[in-house]
Every structure is written in C-alpha cells, then in structure tokens.
Amino acid sequence: MTDVQVPLLTKKDYESDQAVRWCPGCGDYAILAQTQKIMPTFGRKKEEFVFVSGIGCSSRFPYYMNTYGFHTIHGRAPAVATGVKIANPDLSVWVVTGDGDGLSIGGNHFMHVLRRNMDLNILMFNNRIYGLTKGQYSPTSEQGKKTKASPFGSIDYPLNPPSLALGAQATFVARTIDRWQKHLAEMMLRSYKHDGGSFIEIYQNCNIFNDHAFEEYTGVDKFDNVIELKNNEPMIFAKGTKGIKLEGSKATVVDMEKHSLDEILVHDESDLNLAHIIANWTTHPVLPEPIGVIYSIDKPSYNQEMVNQVEMAKKIKGTSCVQDLLNAGDTWVVS
C-alpha cells in the first residue's frame, strides 16, 4: 500500500475544517501540528489513515485531522481500532489516547492490544491529569498531588507507562515530548515504520490543570535531566558530560571527565532486559528521564496472523458456499 504514486500532499491537506478547541497554550496543539506536518511525508495515500480516539481533551484529535477518524468512547479506542485494523489490515491505524483514557478506564484494552501485537500506532498524550473533566489526578499523577478530587493530596501511586507496555509484551515502546518537535516527528515515523503494535508516550503539558509538569525536561535544565536514547550508542547526556554505567542491573550516573566511553552502557533497542531497566528510570530521583525508542523488535502482528489463518483455511478447506454447510451433516428427505 505504500509508495504507490501518492500525490504530493502538504500539511494543509491533513487539516480538517473544524476549529481547534483546546485551551490556548495546550501541548496538544504542537502534537497536532507535527502530525499534520509529518503524515504527508510518509508516502501513503491520505484515505488510508484512520485516527481512532477515546474521550478526553487529547481524544478530540481526530476531529482536526482531515483523514478518516472516529472519536469513540472513554477508554475503548484500542478495541475499536482493533476492529478497524482486523477488518482492513491495509489501513494505517492510529490511536490517540490520554493517560486517563488509556491507562485508567482503558487499561485493560491497552494491555491486550499490545500483548497481541496489533499493528496500531498508539499515541498516549500523558499530561498526568484528567484534563477534560477539569483536573482530577490520573494514574500517572505523582503521589500527593492536590486536585479538586484530592484536596489533601492523592494517596494513589502512579504507574509507569513504558514499564506497563513492556510487561504487556509490546514490540515498540518510545517516549517523546510535545515541545520536542523534531523528536516527536522522528518517533512518529519510527512508529509508522514499525510493523506491529507501537506505543509512544508523549509528555504533554496541560497548562490549565497541571502546568509545568514536564518543566524539568523542557526548561533550561533539560539536558541535565533527560537522556535521549540512540540505538547502539553509548548513553551519555548533559551535553556529553555525564554517562550511564551499568553494574549488574544497577545503573549509575557517572562523570565523563573521570570515565571513558567504553565503560558506558550502550543502548540496544532489541534487548528486553535493558528496556525494562531503562523504563525504570522514569521519574527517578537521580537517573535522567529516558526519551526516545526504549524497545523495538520484530514479531508477527495479530492482524497479519489473522490474514494468514484465513488464507490457510481457504487453501486447506477450499472455498465453499453456505448452501453446502446447510446441506452438511445427517439429513433426510421427507417426500
């Protein structure tokens, strides 16, 4: 379906005629703009993209994309998208969800869609808050968060989306940030190219209910607090001044003035153990926040296996018609 005389389209072609209604300054704008910009470069026909979302601020996304789209119900987008993808595996199906939509009410579907390696591109806008319902804490909110629903601070512990995804047997796990425009586009391209289920957690600022949640990674100190993962490259950050060393399964930050490059941990996207270790650096007090592709392997997708099974059954059993089935079994004639 790819690379066949696709007319050259531009960002404009991917913009719908609907007025965008997020709060001014919301991180969702940047993600939308980047998506509209990168999609035409994929070399695929526009009508083959489908955006499926749940409910939340983030889930309004499909209305603004001039592609096929479906704004469904809270938490169920992965399941609806599953139906779309099985029904027509030639489509490029994108799921847009939030931290509440995808991990709270829809946690079950999130886990299973990854387990099956359903070839969906899941974009989770994680603002660590329920935006649409006006600011309750979410499953990724830090403990102690004061919201209208937790005036004394929330007593819930947050979960770690990449760890959850890896535990669910995801074959592609990445993280990016709304403000990191180029990186965001790069992750989306990687996801698009990944043949199988992919999960991108996007740190997204909700400037109304959880402003500055990701300040550490977007503000002036960002280089000290973030490590950008690059496959087969040593894990150095803070403009090359710091690196990560692994002793056993314990990672430590080291000063690059005192250590040489070959002591430094090298990223390997296909190493599941390493991926689990990296995922655990999320919101770590000492280790930098991992951004980029944490894990990526090839594995046959559910939708492809489904196609194969149907084809195999046709080959083995041959095609027949319903009338044959009706007439099968023990029959007798009344005359």
Binding site: V50, Y63, A79, G83, L91, H112, Q309, V333
Partner: protein, 613 residues
Amino acid sequence: MGKTFKTIDEAVIRFAGDSGDGMQLTGGRFTETTAIVGNDLSTLPDFPAEIRAPAGSLAGVSAFQIKFSSKDIHTPGDKPDVLVAMNPAALKVHRNELIPGGTMIINTDAFTKKNLKFAGFESNPLEDGSLDDYFTIIPIEMNKMVTAACEGIEMSPKLIGRTKNFFALGVLFYMYDRPLDATEAWLKKKFKGKDAIIEANTRALNAGYNFGDTTELFMTRFKVEKANLPTGTYRNMNGNLATSLGLLAASEKSGLDLFYGGYPITPASDILHTLATWKHFGVQTFQAEDEIAGISSVVGAAFTGKLAVTATSGPGIALKGEALGLGVITELPMVIINVQRGGPSTGLPTKTEQSDLNQALYGRNGEAPLPVIAAATPGDCFFAAYEACKIALKYMTPVILLTDGYLANGSEPWKIPNVDELEDIDVNFAQEKNSEEEYLPYLRDEKTLSRPWAIPGTPGLEHRLGGIEKAENTGHVSYDPDNHHKMVELRQEKVNRIQQDIAPTEIFGDDHGDMLVLSWGGTYGSCRSAVETLREEGNKVSHAHIRWISPLPKDLGEIIIGFKNVLVPEINLGQFLRLIRSEYLVDAQGLNLVRGRPISASTIVETVKKKLD
C-alpha cells in the same frame, strides 16, 4: 416372547444422570435417530453450570429431554413418560416430574450407600417402596451388563463402565423401535482410530437393545409413526448453530465478510466456536479481552465495512451498553445477539429466561432506540439472524437479536432452506461525494432515513464519526438544543420506519375471540401447542407471535382489538406485557413463571381456561 406393539402419537423421554454419565451425548444420539426415523421432535438439554460438580451430587445432575411425535409439535414436552435415571441424584432431582404411571429405567448399580447418602436419600427408594405405587420401575444393573458385554476388550473397568449410557440408549431404541445403525456409524466416525472404544460402546448399545428384547420387564413396545412434515430435505438443528448459519448466509448474500468480536459466555459461546471454524468463508473471529472490547471491535469493523456481529448473554450485554449507544449515534450496522439466560448477575448461567427484554429495549443511556428481533424456535434462529443482518445493513443501525438458552441448545427437525430464495441484501458503499463540496456522512435516504456508508480507504470521502451529538448531514459536532431534539426524534423515527419491512402478523385461529395468547421469543412453541389444544377443545382462543419487538408490527393494535382478553406468557415478570399494556392501552394479563425452564403448554392451557371461566 409375545411382545406387543402399541402405536402412539407422541412420547416424551428424559435421560438424567451425573455430568460424567454422558447424558447430553446420549440424548443427542437418540435425537439424531429419531430425526432420521422421520418424527417431528423437540429437545431440551438441561445441564449444570459446574463443569465437574462432585460425582453423584445433586448439583451435578445433567438431563436431556426429547419429545417426538407423528404430528407437528412445538415443544420438548412437559412431563416425561420415561425417565432414565443413571444414579440416585438424578432420580431425586427428576422423579417428581414424571407423569403418574410413567416408566423409570434405573441403573441400580449406581445405587450404592454412598451415592444414596450423597443424594440425600435416607433409604433406598428402589427398596422402600416409595416409587412402586406411582411408576413402573425397570431396575437394570447396567454396570454389570456392560462389563459382561465388553468381556475380552482390553480396556480398564472404569472405561468400560462409561459405556453404560449407550446401554441405556440401546434399551430406549428397543422400547421405541429405533434402528441402531446411525449410532454405530456415528461411533465409528467419532472415535476413529480408537477401536476398543468403538467396540465397547457398540457392544453396550447392542446389549441394551437385546436386554430389552429378552427381559420380561418390557412387554409392550411403542411405535411412533413418521410425522407428516412438509416435503423437503431435513436436518436436526439447534439454535446456536442456526444463528451462526444465518449470519454466514447474510454475509454471503450481502457480499460482506463476517467479523465477529466477542468474549466467551454461556450459553452464547458456541456461536463463537462455530464461526471460528468457518475461516475459509472469510470469517474473522476475534476473541476479545472482555465484552466491552468485543462490541468496540465490532463498532470498528462496522465502520470499516464488515458485517460486524457479537454474541453474548445478559451480563455481557450489560457491559456492552455504552458502545451500543455509540453504534446508535454513529448509525453503524451491526448485530448484537443476546442468548438470554437466568439473571440477574450470574443468575442461572445454563438455564433459560426471557428477562433481558427490557435491557434490550432500554438498557442504554440517553434515548438510544434500536431494533430488537426475537427468534421463536431453534431453527428460526437462522431466519431471525438473517433478518437482523438485513435490517442492520438496510437501515444502518445496530440490531439486537434475542434468543435464549432453551432455543440455543434445543433442537428440532429443520427443513433446509435454499439460500437463493432468501431475500437479497444489497449493500452499496459510498464511492463519491454526495454534495458539491464535501461528503456528507449523514445525508439520509428519504424512505429508510438510512445514511450512506463510506469506509476508510475510499479516496475523497474522509470524514469523522463520533459519539458527540452531531449536526444533520455534515456530522459535525453540534451542541445546539434544537438540533439535539431533532436528532433524538430522528433516531427513533428511523427505527419506527422498519415497520415497513415487517411481515404482517399471522394469527393462528380466528381474528377475534375470547382470548388472544400473545407471545414473543422462545415461548412460541408452548403457546402454539397450548392454543392448538384449547382450540381442539372448542375454545375461542387464538395465538399471535411477535417477532419484531422494536418496532412492533403495524397491525398488532388492530389484532388485539379483536379479542376480549389478552394473555402474555413469558419467562420474566411481565416485560413484554407492560410494553403491550402501555402501547395499546389494553388490559392484557401475564402468565409469568421464572424457573429457568420453558413455560409448559399445559400451564398455559390451564391458565387460559381459568381466565375464561
């Protein structure tokens, strides 16, 4: 031996034993042979919810009832003439249901002290005379019999003991003069390569037959002549298979591949199991993580142009409610099957009930009307499923099909339909813009109010669907109060328009009289039998059966006016009754028995008579 034959019109027999005794299988074999012999028949399997309740316990009793006849019949019968009881627990559970003077065929080898105690008998009912006055008891040492019959076969005594159900089957084949060859052929096919098992069961079957022949216990054998069924080729058909076939037929006739997304639940799982074997018909079955994902995947597949279906039972429908509303507001074609079982909550998973009608009609938030059709008999599930698909595609709407545990597992001889003669199902995906500037996903057909169906992948028709209220034609989000009111009315009106597709209601009997028995769903058979009996006795009673409950048929109001009384028998506390009362302002009465079993025809007869007195 001087045995005599007595020709009878019909007989009802019930096999009852422990879950491990193979009663469903035995009943199935008796059914198959009875069908081949040419009787009309109707069956009622009745099994426990526990897969392996402790052997010999009351909870573990599994039963299978069949009524067969030389006449056209509609129910599996009320009280059996013959009860086969393979152990004390089976006797305990079923003894009170046998007709007075009925025959009990009992495996006395199972009447050990331990089993008797387990079944709660203080003394052995075979010895204390408690049964003798009421029934003809035929005690048989079945375990000993099969052990003797299988002598020389290299098989453990335990496995040989397991053949006793075939012994019992042989006895009944003798009693009712049925051939053994179909069962023998079936054994050969089923246990292909396992010669010892084939041999042992075949010998047990023959031993049972011969026992009947030699024993003095049976002096009379019974003949039930062929039924006078309409000509054609027949097979035995149960409801879940019929439903599956109906869906597949609709797939073939519409040219749309079938997508099934669902989560296993009794008594609907067999639909998933059956469809999963039809991959070579292009059927895609998706076993989802729960019912919510099941219906959600169906919504997605419907958006993408499949004939999308899910099947479940009441608890599953409860979970699917929100997504069904999404299907209603986005006007996507799909079929949702509820094989009803006893509720609420887990209720009686393996028993039948009609108590999810309100759930089907009203079980969603907001004004979320959708068409509801109910199947009448096991074989009718085929036509009901077909019709459900047809209406869903024609009107672009979710349709609920109600069947129930009794229909799903019950069976009847079924005249095989000709697929060519089924009404066509036309589907046209939108290919081009339907207005000058843009594609309007909600531009409606004037007659059906149905909207066009443009599926992802179609160039130029990119559009967005969603669960937020939409403006007419464009489908854009709209919070306008007047628009919402209009949409609410429009969605109801669309369902109402389906009346144009509903066949006129047939009245069995006169179109006026003292009483109309009005039924829906699986109570069809009992109601029809009851009204046949009442009419034969000269009562001015008629029967009307309703297939589409939403919308109701146009002519029902007229029909009701023709009768002084209306009786609505249903296996719930009056859900259809209340609908009829409110729709037609008629003082209809209910007959409501919620016992997890079909309402018997005799109960309906009695009730009608009492009311007419």
